[in-house]
């Protein structure tokens, strides 16, 4: 009997140790965050500030800008990269356990939750006293995202991104297809993709898109056909409506001439594109550097996202071409020991000087309007103007609610859009998936 009890206990500890993972993950982040809190006592000037980000592409540029700030402040800055999935696990554990990194990025997926629970440093008083920050200069959607309904500001807009079409000139040449232009509709994209897929007899796919390519993919079709994934009040959706269904029907047709779902789920659209297996993908501006530094980057070129000619007059109206935009925010932990220095760093990142540096170095486009022109020239030999031109048409802010990941994940999986993605020939299935998606989002919002 003793042996039995011991085994049961062992079994229990095995499984419950899983939950302990979350806790121990927190201690991992605390050790990285403690660098600054070494100097005890509030108000004491920190010796160094720990900055956590998730994008390794940006680390070098951000560190350089931060070093510039160090020249005047004398406070050292360590920029550490934690990959996207672990970033949020660590941050959440840090917020629950009490030790977060000092300064870090916020994202539309989770910003609401963090702002409501007062784990972020309130920036209002600092902004008021700061002559370098003028809140009216930032992109509306990004600014609103990090402002709580009671008017408190918890993060300053770091950047904004847009979406464009990426194509491989070598593949287009090989199968004698004309390059994408800014007059392309989604139907033109379909025709081109079809020519490539059929011309290569399935060896190369005309286009590829996974269900997880939402912000940089199928969301844009829904909006250009007049639908909305999340309505402007963040309380509902029209994804099951006729406009959204028209957009997803176009998506379905694209899928019939694109890479099958089983292929993109295993290899990823980026890798497929870079290995010359796919002619076109849609991509966000945060990915430019990956393609700019890729082996065959001379073959790659960007174009404006196609539009939906809804009124049938053959030209692109402002509200017929939509690109998602999203913006990260620079936030600080509410428990930070030296809030003055942390704010000063955030302020520098988001000031006109910092924002212009960020664009010049090709890190990202700015969160402030009118500072991003230099970004277009940051990648010598690659024309990335389509990302800036997208702003001449319509932009929508990346759809978010309080707990975005809950419905966003569900939409990518079986029971929602994974089914029609798997069988793109079945038009009925896509329409049904839109209805399911409507219900998934509504239920998720209700449960928030």
């Amino acid at each position: 009997m003793k042996k039995l009890a011991a085994l049961l206990l062992a079994a229990m500890m095995c499984t419950t140790a899983l939950t302990a993972c979350g806790g121990s993950g927190g201690s991992g982040s605390s050790s990285s965050g403690s660098g600054s809190s070494e100097s005890s006592g509030s108000g004491a000037k920190a010796g160094s500030i720990t900055v956590n980000i998730w994008d390794a592409n940006q680390q070098k540029g951000i560190q350089e800008i931060a070093d510039k700030w160090t020249e005047t402040s004398g406070v050292k800055v360590n920029v550490e990269v934690v990959d996207w999935d672990n970033y949020w696990t660590l941050l959440e554990a840090g917020a629950s356990g009490g030790t977060m990194p000092d300064v870090f990025w916020m994202h539309s997926n989770t910003a609401q939750m963090y702002m409501e629970n007062d784990v972020l440093l309130k920036l209002n008083d600092y902004i008021e006293k700061d002559s370098k920050i003028d809140m009216s200069k930032y992109y509306e959607g990004v600014k609103n995202l990090y402002t709580r309904s009671d008017g408190n500001v918890y993060a300053l807009p770091k950047d904004h991104d847009t979406i464009a079409l990426l194509y491989n000139k070598a593949i287009f040449d090989k199968y004698k297809v004309d390059y994408p232009t800014d007059k392309w509709t989604w139907t033109d994209m379909y025709e081109a993709a079809k020519k490539i897929t059929e011309g290569s007899k399935g060896d190369v796919y005309g286009m590829a898109m996974n269900t997880s390519n939402n912000q940089d993919g199928w969301y844009n079709l829904i909006y250009s056909y007049g639908g909305q994934v999340i309505t402007e009040d963040h309380k509902g959706t029209t994804i099951g409506g006729a406009e959204s269904k028209a957009g997803m029907e176009m998506m379905r047709q694209l899928l019939t001439v694109g890479a099958p779902q089983s292929v993109v789920a295993e290899t990823g659209t980026d890798s497929l594109f870079m290995s010359g297996k796919v002619g076109m993908i849609t991509q966000g501006s945060w990915m430019i550097n990956s393609f700019y530094t890729a082996e065959n980057h001379a073959d790659y070129a960007w174009a404006l996202l196609p539009y939906a000619d809804r009124n049938g007059n053959g030209t692109c109206e402002k509200d017929e071409r939509w690109s998602a935009y999203n913006g990260l925010g620079w936030a600080a932990s509410a428990a930070v020991k030296d809030p003055e220095s942390c704010y000063s760093l955030i302020s520098y990142f988001c000031s006109e000087e910092g924002q212009k540096l960020q664009a010049e170095k090709g890190v990202t486009m700015g969160g402030m309007t009118g500072v991003s022109d230099a970004f277009a020239n940051a990648f010598e030999g690659m024309d990335i103007k389509p990302f800036l031109d997208a702003e001449n048409f319509s932009l929508y802010f990346r759809p978010y609610t309080r707990k975005t990941t809950v419905w966003e994940d569900a939409l990518q999986q079986a029971g929602a859009f994974l089914d029609p993605w798997q069988k793109p020939d079945d038009a009925e299935l896509m329409s049904k998936a839109c209805d399911n998606a409507q219900k998934i989002i509504e239920d998720a919002i209700k449960a928030e």
Partner: protein, 300 residues
């Protein structure tokens, strides 16, 4: 009635010894309490709560989470996936390891080299193992499809993905099981084999009539620990399967489901309930195994 022995007074030296003993085990005890017992109890508590963000504002809701877990189809589907995985990993992991152990227990040249090779997967980080296998299985560029000239979606075809995952599990665990078997084999006295040989028993007869019964306590131990290990599998599915993989539904383990709810969706209470559900299931399995021990294990 048993008579209570008069309490012996401890000498000073004994007291000191006891205090020192406590001091020495204190780090382990504190570690166990802080990292195992406290989270375990807290998990059970959370399973009765609608948990708030960042561990604040938990509201007690009784058995509501349990009602949801027990009625959700995905719970039972995931449990079945986990059992399917265990059905591959445990039998194959044990049988292959036993055969290897018997061969590597012989006094031949190079046994230590082979033992090391078979044990290596155990030393590798599970995440690294999963990444390598993910690329071996890749439909487009994977080594398997290229070598055999096939075009099989090893990890995206719902019909075979669970087997592919199970194979990785077997491969990873063979070395560990083998080492346990070898140590068990070395406890069997050589006399039995000598006697059997004189009586004219073949190698195969010796294996089934001496090795297998005398090794049964070791086998039972391995089977039992591996069942518990297989039921708590997570890393393989998490690393190998993409979220948008159609086969995920048919391979995701119950711990994966827990991860999705607790960490991706941020619903710690529901996640905790799934874990408690798993613990109860493992307890039942363990209980049955313990009952069966007397029948299955040979006690000379």
């Amino acid at each position: 009635m048993k008579q209570l022995a008069p309490r012996k007074k401890r000498t000073k030296a004994e007291k000191r010894e006891a205090i020192w003993a406590l001091c020495f085990i204190a780090p382990t005890i504190i570690g166990l309490i802080a990292l195992n017992f406290y989270p375990a109890i807290d998990t059970v508590w959370q399973s009765f709560c609608k948990t708030g963000d960042f561990g604040k504002g938990n509201v007690f809701i009784g058995f509501a989470n349990y009602a949801k877990v027990f009625t959700a189809g995905e719970t039972w589907h995931s449990l079945w996936n986990t059992i399917k995985y265990a059905l591959i990993e445990v039998p194959f992991g044990v049988v292959i390891a036993l055969i290897l152990a018997v061969f590597l227990n012989k006094k031949l040249k190079g046994t230590s080299v082979f033992r090391t090779i078979f044990f290596l997967p155990m030393v590798c980080a599970p995440a690294a193992v999963a990444m390598v296998w993910k690329w071996l299985y890749n439909q487009q560029f994977g080594l398997l499809n290229n070598v055999f000239g096939t075009n099989v979606a090893w990890i995206s075809d719902p019909k075979i993905a669970w087997i592919s995952i199970g194979i990785i599990g077997v491969w990873s665990v063979i070395g560990y099981n083998m080492v346990l078997f070898i140590s068990g084999l070395q406890e069997i006295p050589g006399d039995y084999y000598e006697a059997a040989e004189i009586d004219g028993a073949t190698g195969i007869r010796q294996f089934f009539h001496i090795t297998v019964p005398l090794l049964s306590p070791t086998t039972f131990f391995i089977v039992q620990t591996r069942i518990i290990g297989a039921l708590t599998i997570f890393d393989l599915m998490f690393m190998v399967m993409d979220k948008t993989n159609l086969a995920l539904e048919n391979t995701q383990s119950i711990v994966y489901l827990f991860y999705t709810y607790a960490f991706t969706n941020g619903d710690k209470g529901y996640g905790a309930t799934i874990v408690v559900f798993l613990v109860i299931f493992i307890m039942i399995v363990t209980f049955i195994m313990q009952r069966a021990e007397k029948k299955l294990v040979y006690h000379p």
